[in-house]
Amino acid sequence: MNSPIVNRRDLDFLLYELLDTERLTERERYAEHSRETFDAAIETAHRVAVDYLQPHNRKADLNEPTFDGDKVSTIPEVKEALDVYCDTGLLAAGQDFERGGMQLPATVAQTCTAITKGANVGTFAYVGLTVAATNLILAHGSDEQIQRYTPYMLSGRFFGTMCLTEPQAGSSLGDLRTRAVPQDDGSYRIRGNKVFISGGDHELAENIVHMVLARTPDAPAGVRGISLFIVPKYLVNDDGSLGPRNDVKLAGLIHKMGYRGTTSTMLNFGENDECTGYLVGQPGDGLKCMFHMMNEARIGVGLGAVMLGYGGYLHSLAYARERRQGRAPGEKDPATPQRLLVEHADVRRMLLAQKSYVEGGLALGLYGARLVDDERTHPDAAARANATRQLALLTPVIKSWPSDYCLRANDLAIQILGGYGYTREYPVEQYFRDNRLNPIHEGTHGIQAQDLLGRKVRQEGGTAFDTMVATMRATVDEVNHDGPGSLAGEAEALARALEALEETTRALRAVGETGDTERYLANASDYLDMFGHIVIAWLWLRQAATAAAAQPASDDDRAFYQGKLAACRYFMNVELPKIHHLAALLRRGEDTPLNTDPDWL
């Protein structure tokens, strides 16, 4: 059973009322665009999503890819959908016109991919990885490499992968062991084992271009010894035709909880010592190259988590508007008709929580994408630098907060469907399983927390942090504090949260300055939780201010804006206060986890 992927009215609100995306057309890069072209691209993405991706979402979940020792098989709908996706130009949506792209702003391109993820994240992953691999070559590859691979990747003839993880090197990439030995012809011999490589083998495209992290023989230990290589499944001739099969072997498929449509592979490079790879960028710059592209990839992960949460929210909302169960508390007469679920306050509590998570998360992801656009195209150099700083600070939050809270939204969606939500006849349990990946890949939740507190908050003496707090405080001052549409209470709640954030951060940094990094980072996940909630509260205040000032054009529109105000109130009154609990434990330096001996567990 299919349900809507996203509320288009909400998307319009966020893109055009909150973020004023149309103004991007004033920038040279987007001068040929207009709201019309943005909407047309979103429309095409939505149609492909509804007509080709969503219909086989469950089928792909029930029929995982299989490997017969020679070839991988996937259900035919996957290839059909991907062919349409590539043919419509969605894969190249953000690329330059000269490369056959549509040169869309990141804000709009991310919207398009978000919609397709919401429809079927398992099938989308193949093209998502291809875009990431292509961007990597475009940013760091030589002209020759760009020529040889990217046109075919952008057309969908070749797909791509990202090969980082090894059995002994998951979170700690610095410990990876795959080796790359230089050859006389300038290429490298690659040898090593990778695990969890998404899209690592399949018959969905003619070729697969693996982006592999490996170390050269004399490289230093740790992350500075890691280099990046292109390792194609089939070598590619000068004319673009396929050459011999490279020595990359599928050792087996991994069977997962969710994301089942995507092959998860164990790959052996150089079993016969005949695996050819080509260095991208400088030796030792492998991780730097990868992480250069990470901001956007992580916004993509965050938005993917949002969309799975969003699908669950919309499905449980529709369900709660149809299913009747129980009567009003205090109603004793069994002859009265049953109420709709949505008429129970406790069910509305679960709907509001979901709404505040998914619409808040969508605002955060699109705001992040807008920072990418500002970093690239803002006419003012200081504004560009500010966007870079803010983006660096927020990236762990944009990745992790939705991965955490939109998964909780999925849990609530199941709860609203009761016993039915627990069955495979309804999509909500699959959304939950699919979404469970997001706190794990692209840097686990804990690793993101360490990135936020350990690096980003302290960067440049805390400049980004201070600017972010000032930006949020400006909203507190700007919103209407009296008269009709007053948001004084909501603004006050955010103001107090910001004070707590500053105080807590100061206290923590004092611990950091003692040099006891272990203690400094012991509760980093709680800090991430607190920081994320405050950023979301800020975005809710902005949404509420926009909604309060809007002129509704119809009754439906009025209800839409009221919904924004209600979700903001819910977040400020019910969700945000928890940060004061987190602030207290962070400030006192809660040390139970730190001091618990592993043997006691």
Partner: protein, 249 residues
């Protein structure tokens, strides 16, 4: 050959339409609008004829508010060559549209006009027929197959209980049914190309047409809510209910 394709901007087929509180019509403010799905099929058919080399030019026209330009651009992104908007804020009835199409046909001299068989907002199913009558052209309505031969076309029509094939002299009018084809998506690069294609704007007066409505909308109402079903004990009770309560037998 030149083909003219009229396209209408309607409330998107996914939108749950709501009647305005005063019963004067349906809510369209801030509601997602799209090209009438039957018109998409018409555009697709015209573009395919162009790709086959049968047609040289596909001209897309729309009539209505200025936002109809977006609908025309969508058709241009699908492969139309240029567009014409007859801009008016008036409510347009099929007869007015047919008359304006006549004006345009006289200017443009198309060999064929392909329309949707009806629009999903008012379901009138009249414009193509009225236009053909005004022009004195042959019409192949509810087309599920269109086959071009020298100077004529063969149209397979969906009719009750089967299909009927008619042969029409050109110029002619075709209206599309669902099975005619599956319309393509606007590819992203083509959306940008469409922006650069010519789009002219005219007014009804330029075509000498008075668009004053000839009909008055008395009231628009929601369909009655579906009642829940009931279980009957036996056939006798069913027959009794059908006879005395539902009064259908």
């Amino acid at each position: 050959m030149k083909i003219l394709v009229p396209v209408k901007r309607v409330v998107d087929y996914n939108v749950k339409v709501r009647v305005k509180a005063d019963g004067s019509g349906v809510e369209t403010a801030n509601v997602k609008m799209s090209m009438n799905p039957f018109d998409e099929i018409a555009v697709e058919e015209a573009v395919r004829l162009k790709e086959k080399g049968v047609a040289e030019e596909v001209v897309v026209v729309s009539m209505g508010v200025s936002q109809c330009q977006e609908t025309i651009r969508t058709a241009l992104a699908m492969g139309g060559d240029r567009g014409i908007l007859v801009e008016t804020d008036d409510e347009l009835e099929p007869l007015a549209v047919a008359k304006m199409l006549k004006g345009l046909a006289e200017k443009e001299s198309p060999d064929m006009v392909i329309l949707g068989k009806q629009a999903i907002d008012d379901d009138a199913n009249q414009t193509g027929q009225m236009f053909a009558a005004l022009m004195g052209w042959g019409q192949g309505t509810f087309a599920s197959e269109v086959d071009i031969q020298d100077g004529s076309i063969q149209v397979t029509r969906e009719i009750d209980g089967g299909a009927e094939t008619v042969k029409l002299k050109l110029p002619a009018v075709v209206t599309t049914d669902l099975r005619l084809n599956e319309p393509r998506y606007a590819k992203l690069p083509n959306i940008m190309k469409a922006k650069k294609k010519q789009l002219d704007t005219l007014s009804p007066a330029d075509l000498g047409v008075d668009t004053t409505p000839r009909l008055k909308t008395v009231k628009v109402a929601e369909p009655p809510k579906r009642q829940g079903g009931i279980k009957v004990a036996d056939v006798a009770e069913l027959v009794d209910k059908l006879k005395n309560e539902a009064k259908v037998i």
